[in-house]
C-alpha cells in the first residue's frame, strides 16, 4: 500500500504546526507526548509495523523513525526558543534604569600647563635634549650681566623685574638656566629648561607669573638654519602640520643674530582677528645664536663653539589649545574652569 507510506508527510506537517503553535513549555510537552509518547501517533505507527511484510516493514520502519527524529528536532528547537523567551522575560523584569547617572570615581586632572610641559619635554627628549633647572629667585648677575645685559642697558627697563630683598630678583626669563648649565660643561650639549618666570605686569593679556621653555644647543657646527628647523619641527608637533611660522629679526643682548618667531593665528587662519590683534600672527618666542660674549662668560671658546638658544611661552600654547580667552584663567584655580580643561 504505497498510499500508506506517503501518509507520513501530512502527519509530520500536522506535528510541526502543533509544535510551532505551542506557546509554553507545558503545552510543548503535551504536543510531544501526543506524537512521541507511548500512546502517541508515531508509537502507534511503529506498533502497526508488525503486520507488514519484510521489505515493506523495513521501509515503513525507516520512514517512521525519520519522522520521529524530525519531530524530536522540531520540539528541541521550539523548546530552546521558548526558554530564550522565558529568560528574556525574566531579564526584562530585572531591568534597571540605565539613564541614572553613572557612579564614576572622582575625576582629577593635571593642570593644562603641566600637560603642555610634558608634551614639550617629550618632544625635546626625542631630539636628545636633557632637562636643566635653576632657581626662581636668582642673582641680578645670572639674570642680566651674564646674559650681556649690563646694569646700564636699557633692556633692563623693559623687563619689568620683580626684585626681592637681599638684592636678588625673580627670574624674568629661563635664560638664567642657560648660564648655569653651560658654565663648566664642555660642548657639545643640548638642553631645555622649562620653568616659571615672573614680571611686574598685571594687564589682561599678561600675568606676573608665567612659564617659558628655554632650549639651547652648543656644538661646532650648529647654525641659524638648524635653529629654524628645530623650531619648525616643534611648532608642527604642538600645532599640527599646517602651522605657519614667521621669523622676524629682533634684538636680545644674549643672542646675535636674534629673531622673534610668530605663528600664523590659528583662530582666523592668518586673516586677522581679535586674538592676533588683526595682524594674522601671534608672537611665540625669541631665539638666536648665542652671543659670543655669553659663551665667553660661561668659559666656552666662541671661536671653536657656537650654539643656538630659544625661549617660548608655554602659557599661550596652553591657552590656544583650550580656547582660553585670558591667561588669568590658568592661575585663578577656579575649579569650575579647571574641571572643563
Amino acid at each position: 500500500m504505497p498510499a500508506e507510506t506517503d501518509s507520513l508527510e501530512p502527519l509530520l506537517a500536522q506535528a510541526c504546526a502543533e509544535i510551532a503553535a505551542a506557546d509554553s513549555l507545558p503545552a510543548l510537552a503535551l504536543v510531544r507526548a501526543a506524537y512521541l509518547g507511548r500512546k502517541g501517533s508515531v508509537a502507534a505507527l511503529l506498533r502497526g509495523l508488525g503486520a507488514l511484510a519484510e521489505p515493506e516493514r523495513l521501509r515503513q520502519g525507516r520512514l517512521a523513525n525519520q519522522a520521529k527524529e524530525r519531530i524530536e528536532q522540531a520540539v528541541a528547537e521550539r523548546r530552546a526558543a521558548l526558554e530564550a523567551q522565558a529568560r528574556d522575560r525574566v531579564l526584562g523584569e530585572q531591568r534597571l534604569d540605565p539613564t541614572l547617572p553613572g557612579a564614576a570615581p572622582p575625576a582629577g586632572a593635571l593642570h593644562p600647563i603641566t600637560r603642555v610641559m610634558r608634551d614639550m619635554v617629550g618632544f625635546f627628549s626625542s631630539l636628545g635634549f636633557g632637562i636643566e633647572e635653576g632657581p626662581e629667585v636668582d642673582s641680578e648677575y645670572n639674570n642680566f650681566e651674564a646674559l650681556n645685559i649690563d646694569a646700564d642697558h636699557p633692556a633692563r627697563d623693559e623687563q619689568d623685574t620683580l626684585y626681592v630683598e637681599g638684592g636678588r630678583l625673580l627670574r624674568t626669563h629661563t635664560s638664567t638656566v642657560q648660564i648655569r648649565a653651560m658654565t663648566g660643561r664642555t660642548p657639545p650639549f643640548r638642553f631645555i629648561a622649562p620653568g616659571r618666570v615672573y614680571r611686574h605686569d598685571l594687564s589682561p593679556r599678561h600675568s606676573p607669573m608665567f612659564h617659558q621653555i628655554e632650549g639651547f644647543l652648543v656644538d661646532d657646527r650648529v647654525n641659524f638654519g638648524d635653529l629654524k628647523g628645530v623650531l619648525f619641527a616643534f611648532a608642527r608637533f604642538l600645532m599640527g602640520d599646517a602651522v605657519r611660522l614667521r621669523f622676524r629679526s629682533n634684538h636680545f643682548p644674549f643672542t646675535e643674530p636674534s629673531g622673534e618667531v610668530d605663528y600664523g593665528c590659528l583662530i582666523c587662519d592668518g586673516k586677522g582677528c581679535a586674538t592676533c590683534s588683526l595682524s594674522g600672527w601671534i608672537e611665540w618666542g625669541g631665539c638666536g645664536m648665542i652671543h659670543p660674549r655669553v659663551l665667553e662668560r660661561c668659559r666656552i671658546d666662541p671661536r671653536r663653539w657656537q650654539g643656538f638658544a630659544f625661549g617660548m611661552s608655554l602659557d599661550r600654547t596652553a591657552m590656544l589649545r583650550l580656547g582660553l580667552p585670558q591667561m588669568r584663567h590658568l592661575f585663578e584655580g577656579d575649579l569650575r574652569v579647571l574641571e572643563q580643561l
Binding site: D152, G166, P257
Partner: protein, 801 residues
C-alpha cells in the same frame, strides 16, 4: 614710537601699508601698525544755514533752517552767538554718534523741536575753544561727510624699537630702514640756515668741564623770534607722535628731535647769566627747578648745563624752568649736544624722569648728527618764527665718542653661523643697504665700517645679524642639527613630581598653580610657633599687589585660600593639589632655598553627591588612603605615625609621614582655629610632602612573590576592645601571632553603640590563611585562630563577641 606716515612719505617712498608693516616687522620692529588719527567725522555732514531766526522763548537761542543736502531743510536750535545765515557748518543728524560717544536724539528746547545739532570745534574734539560753532570753508559741499570738508585724518605709523636701535627712534631712522628693505632714495630735509645776524660767538661761550659726560656741544643763537602758535602742519606732525604744541620755538626743537633723532633744547638767551654755557657736574646741594614743575636736588654725579652761576638743565634729560622759553622770548639759544649714554641713563633713573631726550640718549644718538640738528632747528626758526640766525655755531668738544670701529667680517664664519652661502659681493651689497661700507681685504674677509648712527654694530656677529636681517631671516634655509646622540633622562626630582601628580590625579584631585605672592601674616594664620622657620618669608621689593608682598614659605595658605574661593563659587567637594617650590630665606650670602613641595586639600562633601546610598568615609580617612597610595606609587619606604607634627593640623586627627625615622610630610584634618582664620566651614583635610626628602627616602623594591595554587581559608573574628585601642597595634599583633600560614589580615568592621559595652567598641578582623605547598587542614587553621583569640584576650582584654 608714533610717527605721522604722511611725514615719513616726505623722506622716503613708501609701499602699501600692508607691505610696509610686514617689511618693518620682519626687519626687527615690534608691534608695527598703521592707524588713523583724530576723531571719526564720517557720520557728520556739512550743512548750509539758510535762515537764522530768534527763538520765541529764549533770548540766547536761535532757530536755524539748515540745508543738509538731502530732503527738506531741517530746523535746528542753536545756542552759539556766532551762528549766521549763509554759513557752512558741521551738522550732526538725529541718530548719529557724536565725537564724544553720545548718540544724538531729537530734543525739544524751550518748546521748539531741534532736528539735529550744529557743532563747535570743541564738540568736534578739534580744539579747546568753546566760543561758538565751527564755521567751515564757504566752498565746502553741502551734505558731504564732514571728514571731506575738514583736513584729512592723518595716518600714524606706530612701532616698537628694540633697545639697541636708538638710531631708529626718529623719522630719519625709520626712513633709512624703509629704504634698506624696499630701496628708493632718501630725501633729507634742508638744514643750512640763512645766517644774517651778528656772530653767535659774541653772544655766548661754551665750555665742557666734564669731558667724559659730553662728547660734543653745539650752540646756535637765533634772535628776534616771535614765539607764537605753530602752523597747523607742524602741530599735526607733533600730535601724531603724541607731543603737544607749546609754541613755535619748543615745537621746532621737538620737530627736529622727531625728524633726526637728535634731542635739542632751547634756552631763553636773555635769561642766561654771564653769556656762558658750562657743561659740568652738579655741585652737592645744588637745586634745579625742572620743566615738569619739580624742584630737584641734584647729585654730584649728575651732568648739568649751567650758566655763570647756576644749573639750568639736567643734561640730556630735562631743561630748567628759569631759562625756559615763553611767549615773550625774543632771543633763543639752541643746544644740540651728544651726552654719554650711561650718564644720562643714571641721571634719568636717579630723578625718575623719562623724557624724549633721555630715551634717545640712553639708546644711542648719532655722534655725527649734532651740528646738522642745530642747523635744522635754526633754519626752521628763521622760517617759522621770523628769527634771525646768528652767524656760525659755538662748539666745544669733550672726549670723543667711541669711533665707528672697523670690523673684520670673515665670510666663512658668518655663513657657518647663519647656515648661508653669501659671497663677498652679495654680503657687500646687503651691507650697503644699511650704509655699512665693506671692502674685501683678503679673499673671504671683508673690512667693514658701519655708519656713525649705527653704534650698535661692533663685532662680526653684529654684521652677520645685519646680513640675516636685510636678506630676511625668513629666507634662511631650514635644516635640522647634526650631532652626537647622547641618552637623556628626566632629572629624578622632576620624574618623582610627575609620578606624584599622576597619583593624585588618579585619586580624583585637580592640579592647581598659584602665584607665589602671599600677604604677610600667613605664619600667624597657620598658628606657626614663633621660632618656626616658615615664618620667615622673602619680601618682594616692588610687589605687583601691595598686599601680596611676600613669597610663600608654604603651599598650604594658597590652597586654603583657593578652597575658600571655590566654596564661594559653590564648588563641592574641593579636591585640589599643587606641586611647587616654596621659598625659604637663608643667612646671607646663601641664596634662598627653594624646596619642591606637594600639598593637597580635600573637603568633605557638603551635600550627598549621587543618588547612590553609600556614605563616604570621614575626609581624614579618604585623604589617608590617597596618601598611602601616593607613597606606594612614589616608591617611598614611608609610613604614617599618629600625632600632629604641624600646629595647623587637628591634634586628634593627624599623622606624620616618616621615612627612615625622618618626617617628610604630614596629613591631617585642618585645625579648627586655622579653619576659622581661613573661613573654611566644612571638614577639610590636608596633605603635605617634601618631595626632595621623599626622593632621598629609602626605595620600596618591587619583587615578585609566589602565588599559591591552594585554596584560601578565611576566618572572621570580632572582639570588644577599649575605645582608645589603636587598630594598628591589633593588626600587627594578629599578624605576628597567627603564624607563618597567615596570608593577610584586614579590619573589615568597626562598630560602637547599641549592644556594645560602655567604653568599648567592636572590631572585626578577617584572617586569610594559605600555604604555597598544600591545602591547610581545619585543625591547623583552628589552632592558629585559637592562638590569636587568646592573645587578643590576654594582651588587649579583647573578649570575643
Amino acid at each position: 614710537m608714533r610717527l605721522s606716515l604722511d611725514w615719513l612719505a616726505e623722506l622716503v617712498d613708501l609701499p602699501a601699508d600692508a607691505e610696509l608693516i610686514e617689511g618693518l616687522s620682519v626687519g626687527g620692529f615690534e608691534d608695527v601698525s598703521v592707524t588713523a588719527t583724530g576723531p571719526d567725522f564720517s557720520a557728520l555732514r556739512v550743512g548750509h544755514v539758510l535762515e537764522r531766526a530768534a527763538h520765541p522763548n529764549a533770548d540766547r537761542l536761535s532757530v536755524c533752517r539748515v540745508d543738509v543736502g538731502a530732503g527738506d531743510p531741517l530746523e535746528i536750535v542753536c545756542g552759539a552767538p556766532n551762528v549766521a545765515a549763509g554759513q557752512k557748518v558741521a551738522v550732526a543728524l538725529v541718530g548719529t554718534r557724536l565725537p564724544d560717544g553720545r548718540t544724538l536724539e531729537r530734543a525739544k528746547l524751550r518748546g521748539v523741536v531741534s532736528n539735529g545739532m550744529i557743532l563747535s570745534a570743541r564738540e568736534l574734539g578739534l580744539s579747546d575753544e568753546h566760543e561758538g560753532i565751527l564755521v567751515l570753508d564757504p566752498a565746502a559741499p553741502v551734505g558731504a561727510p564732514l571728514s571731506q570738508a575738514l583736513r584729512a585724518a592723518g595716518r600714524v605709523l606706530e612701532l616698537g624699537i628694540t633697545p639697541n636701535r636708538g638710531d631708529a627712534a626718529s623719522l630719519l631712522g625709520v626712513a633709512r630702514e624703509v629704504r634698506a628693505v624696499f630701496g628708493g632714495a632718501l630725501r633729507l630735509p634742508e638744514s643750512a640756515p640763512p645766517e644774517r645776524g651778528a656772530p653767535a660767538r659774541g653772544a655766548i661761550a661754551v665750555s665742557i668741564e666734564a669731558p667724559d659726560g659730553c662728547h660734543h656741544y653745539v650752540a646756535r643763537v637765533v634772535r628776534g623770534v616771535r614765539n607764537l602758535a605753530s602752523p597747523d602742519w607742524l602741530q599735526r606732525k607733533l600730535e601724531a607722535s603724541g607731543l603737544r604744541s607749546r609754541g613755535v620755538v619748543v615745537d621746532v626743537t621737538n620737530l627736529v628731535l622727531l625728524e633726526l633723532g637728535q634731542p635739542l633744547h632751547a634756552f631763553d638767551l636773555r635769561e642766561l647769566r654771564g653769556g656762558q654755557v658750562r657743561v659740568r657736574r652738579a655741585r652737592s646741594g645744588e637745586k634745579l627747578a625742572t620743566l615738569d614743575g619739580e624742584t630737584r636736588e641734584l647729585d654730584p654725579r649728575d651732568l648739568v648745563i649751567a650758566d655763570e652761576g647756576r644749573a639750568i638743565a639736567l643734561a640730556g634729560v630735562m631743561g630748567g624752568r628759569e631759562t625756559e622759553v615763553n611767549a615773550s622770548t625774543v632771543d633763543v639759544l639752541i643746544e644740540s649736544a651728544h651726552f654719554a649714554a650711561v650718564g644720562v641713563r643714571r641721571s634719568a633713573r636717579r630723578h625718575g624722569i623719562r623724557s624724549e631726550a633721555s630715551y634717545r640718549f640712553e639708546r644711542g644718538v648719532d655722534p655725527e648728527g649734532v651740528r646738522r640738528a642745530a642747523d635744522r632747528a635754526a633754519r626752521l626758526l628763521a622760517e617759522l618764527a621770523a628769527g634771525e640766525v646768528a652767524e656760525g655755531t659755538v662748539e666745544a668738544r669733550g672726549e670723543p665718542a667711541p669711533p665707528a670701529p672697523e670690523i673684520l667680517l670673515e665670510l666663512a664664519r658668518a655663513n657657518h653661523l647663519l647656515g648661508t652661502r653669501f659671497t663677498a659681493a652679495q654680503a657687500t651689497a646687503l651691507l650697503a643697504r644699511v650704509e655699512v661700507t665693506a671692502r674685501e681685504a683678503e679673499p673671504g674677509s671683508l673690512r667693514c665700517r658701519p655708519p656713525s648712527h649705527r653704534g650698535d654694530l661692533r663685532i662680526p656677529e653684529d654684521l652677520a645679524e645685519e646680513l640675516a636681517r636685510i636678506h630676511g631671516v625668513d629666507k634662511i634655509a631650514t635644516t635640522l642639527p647634526v650631532g652626537t646622540l647622547a641618552p637623556v633622562s628626566l632629572p629624578p626630582l622632576w620624574a618623582l613630581a610627575d609620578r606624584a601628580r599622576d597619583a593624585l590625579v588618579a585619586a580624583g584631585l585637580f592640579e592647581c598653580l598659584c602665584f607665589p605672592f602671599v600677604p604677610e601674616g600667613d605664619g600667624d594664620r597657620l598658628g606657626l610657633a614663633p621660632e618656626d622657620p616658615r615664618r620667615r618669608t622673602l619680601r618682594v621689593v616692588n610687589p605687583v599687589k601691595e598686599e601680596e608682598g611676600r613669597l610663600r614659605a608654604s603651599l598650604l595658605p594658597s590652597l586654603l585660600r583657593l578652597a575658600r574661593q571655590n566654596l564661594d563659587r559653590q564648588v563641592d567637594p574641593i579636591r585640589i593639589f599643587e606641586v611647587s617650590r616654596v621659598f625659604h630665606p637663608q643667612e646671607e650670602p646663601e641664596p634662598p632655598a627653594e624646596p619642591l613641595w606637594l600639598a593637597g586639600l580635600l573637603t568633605a562633601p557638603r551635600q550627598k553627591r549621587l543618588w547612590q546610598t553609600s556614605t563616604p568615609p570621614p575626609v581624614f580617612f579618604e585623604l589617608k588612603g590617597i596618601a598611602e597610595r601616593l607613597l606606594i606609587q612614589l616608591g617611598c619606604m614611608a609610613s604614617l605615625r599618629e600625632g600632629a607634627v604641624q600646629p595647623y593640623l587637628h591634634p586628634g586627627a593627624a599623622a606624620a609621614i616618616l621615612a627612615d625615622e625622618q618626617v617628610i610630610g604630614s596629613i591631617g584634618e585642618l585645625h579648627p582655629d586655622v579653619a576659622a582664620r581661613f573661613e573654611i566651614d566644612v571638614p577639610c583635610a590636608l596633605l603635605e610632602l617634601d618631595l626632595e626628602r621623599a626622593l632621598r627616602a629609602p626605595r620600596r623594591a618591587v619583587r615578585f612573590r609566589e602565588v599559591s595554587r591552594f585554596p584560601q581559608v578565611r576566618r572572621d573574628i570580632a572582639v570588644y576592645v577599649a575605645r582608645e585601642q589603636r587598630a594598628e597595634e591589633l593588626l600587627a599583633a594578629i599578624a605576628k601571632t597567627a603564624g607563618p600560614d597567615l596570608h593577610s589580615v584586614e579590619l573589615f568592621d568597626r562598630y560602637e553603640g547599641a549592644g556594645v559595652p560602655e567604653g568599648r567598641l567592636s572590631l572585626a578582623f578577617r584572617l586569610v590563611f594559605q600555604r604555597l605547598d598544600r591545602t591547610l587542614t581545619d585543625a591547623e587553621v583552628a589552632s592558629a585562630v585559637e592562638r590569636v583569640v587568646r592573645m587578643l584576650s590576654h594582651r588587649f582584654g579583647g573578649n570575643l563577641r
